[in-house]
Amino acid sequence: MTLDKSAAAYWSANLRIIGICLVIWALVSFGFAILLRPLLAMLPITIGGTDLGFWFAQQGSMITFVILIFYYTWYMNRLDRKFGVEEE
């Protein structure tokens, strides 16, 4: 029973981190680069002569994606060990 509980807890911890990562994933791409671009443009920040939203569309979102995957990998390796489900 304790093992089952642990499996359920492992899965919900995984779902939580997936959720957080996907919120950031959507925020930088659909948010900053597309829908929120006009809002971001109101900030007094320019990059290379243009607004932050343009940078997110052409570079920022991709860089964030790479960081997200490596962060998730690192987090999950730690979680796997914590719950004793890592590979032998």
């Binding site: 659909f30 343009f54 940078w55 052409q58 991709m62 860089i63 790479v66 995957i69 999950m76």
Partner: protein, 590 residues
Amino acid sequence: MDQFTLNLIVVGATFALYIGIAIWARAGTTSEYYAASRGVNPIVNGAATAADWMSAASFISMAGLIAFVGYGNSSFLMGWTGGYVLLALLLAPYLRKFGRFTVPEFIGDRFYSTTARIVAVICLLVISITYVIGQMTGAGVAFSRFLEVQNTTGLLIASTVVFIYAVLGGMKGITYTQLAQYCVLITAYTIPAVFISLQLTGNPVPPLGLFSTHAESGLPLLSKLDQVLTELGFHDYTGHHASKLNMFLFTMSLMVGTAGLPHVIIRFFTVPKVADARKSAGWALVFISLLYLTAPAVGAMAKLNIITTIYPDGTAEEPIRYDDKPDWMENWAQTGLLSFEDKNDDGRIQYYNDRSEEFAPIAEARGWEGNEIVTFNQDILVLANPEIAQLPGWVLALIAAGGLAAALSTAAGLLLAISSAISHDLLKSVFMPKITDKQELLYARISMAFAIALATWLGLNPPGFAAQVVALAFGLAAATLFPALMMGIFSKKMNTQGAVTGMLVGLIATLLYIFTYLGWFFIPGTNMLPNEPDYWLFGISPLSFGAVGAILNFASAVVVMKMTKAPPPEIQDLVESIRVPRGAGTAVDH
């Protein structure tokens, strides 16, 4: 030594390398043939995935695709990279844990149904075959452009090379040739990019150069580009000039579609562990980003460079004379990718947007009678770069080898996905389950040969919709396989009925929407509505429909699931087991 000989030597050397690798990495078992014995280092797999992923279109056309539209086409950059986040978080580790060989195999086992497996095979074949047509035509074009052979000859050479290493080595051979192909293509792409960036901005790193100062004018590069474009009646580069909803949905369709492409997913079956599958997706995205961060920089810089070449004294002054145009323009005019027409007979090249009504009075006042660069193929921005930057001939030869590497690596990955679906999912599982491993390996090779023959034939007789097919493949992958795979992992209760309904609804809805605007089976003239924004449902372009198809798939699957029987307990246990990494080693090879 002339350019042609140089191209032959460099391309020939890379081909010899690929074939050498294939002989070294011969496959002896089905495990080697389908999944490279699951012994591929995750970083190597990342590079192989990057080559698998980046097609001739990424290599040759993407910079131009972005440069000719500007901000609006950032969808391609975000869409084609954001999908890897979905792969790493939602699919790759679990599918690796499941430890089988093909995508339909997972769907068939998870939904305990041969019907589900066959529906998945149909989706896979539609997706991968439409995708491979574009690759084969791309390879043919690349050959004819660089090696001065006929399109047909080029295509046949490409097929022969792929035939040798794919039939011989299977996944194992393909993996290591893709690694070599990645090295070739990224080197070829980066060298001219560094030089054009240095030339325009003084910064040797192209992605940084894009956001730095244009050396000649002292303005930020992008401001300068916006300025010259608007002065010639074009849209500014950084502004947005289309529907936000469409951009949102198009980006989403590309992302979800990327994560659902079978030839990309099967690459993650080749790594030893679940943790490696996650890590490998990260490395794949690093390797892809090296090119995708460079491409928009190359596009913007090449575009600015061409405009300032045509207007050496600024857009307010007279453009360059025909007699004074640089040699590279002359060279590429011979290929037909560039063409000029002196419409007002003044001996100068006027390049401007002659479709802009606001700009028409200005053009008239200056005595211009139309845009005189009649053909301006977007591929020029990549292909002509070495000459624009006055780089030695071997760089151009390297571009040739890089373009071919990109086309061959993607074609090989797709062909493996197609042939393994035929030999493993149809022959072994449905029609002749009693065959031995050795026999299945033989059938896998025969299927591969058959897939190559089919792809070559389709490449020689393209159905006339080459441009649309790749977008169709993404839309269908998003609407069919991705939701089925995701629900198979994240919902214990999802059953056969739900999954099959979802895939069929996604497939049919997406096909219907695309055919409505692009014609039944893309036959021109058979479309029921004109393919224009005014006629699109809620303004959604057919190319952006994959995301909607995915939503329809999820929704219909859940509704049907609620009305039908829950999956048997052993299937729910199976889902439990794929959610934890432990035991992946024992799940290998059944």
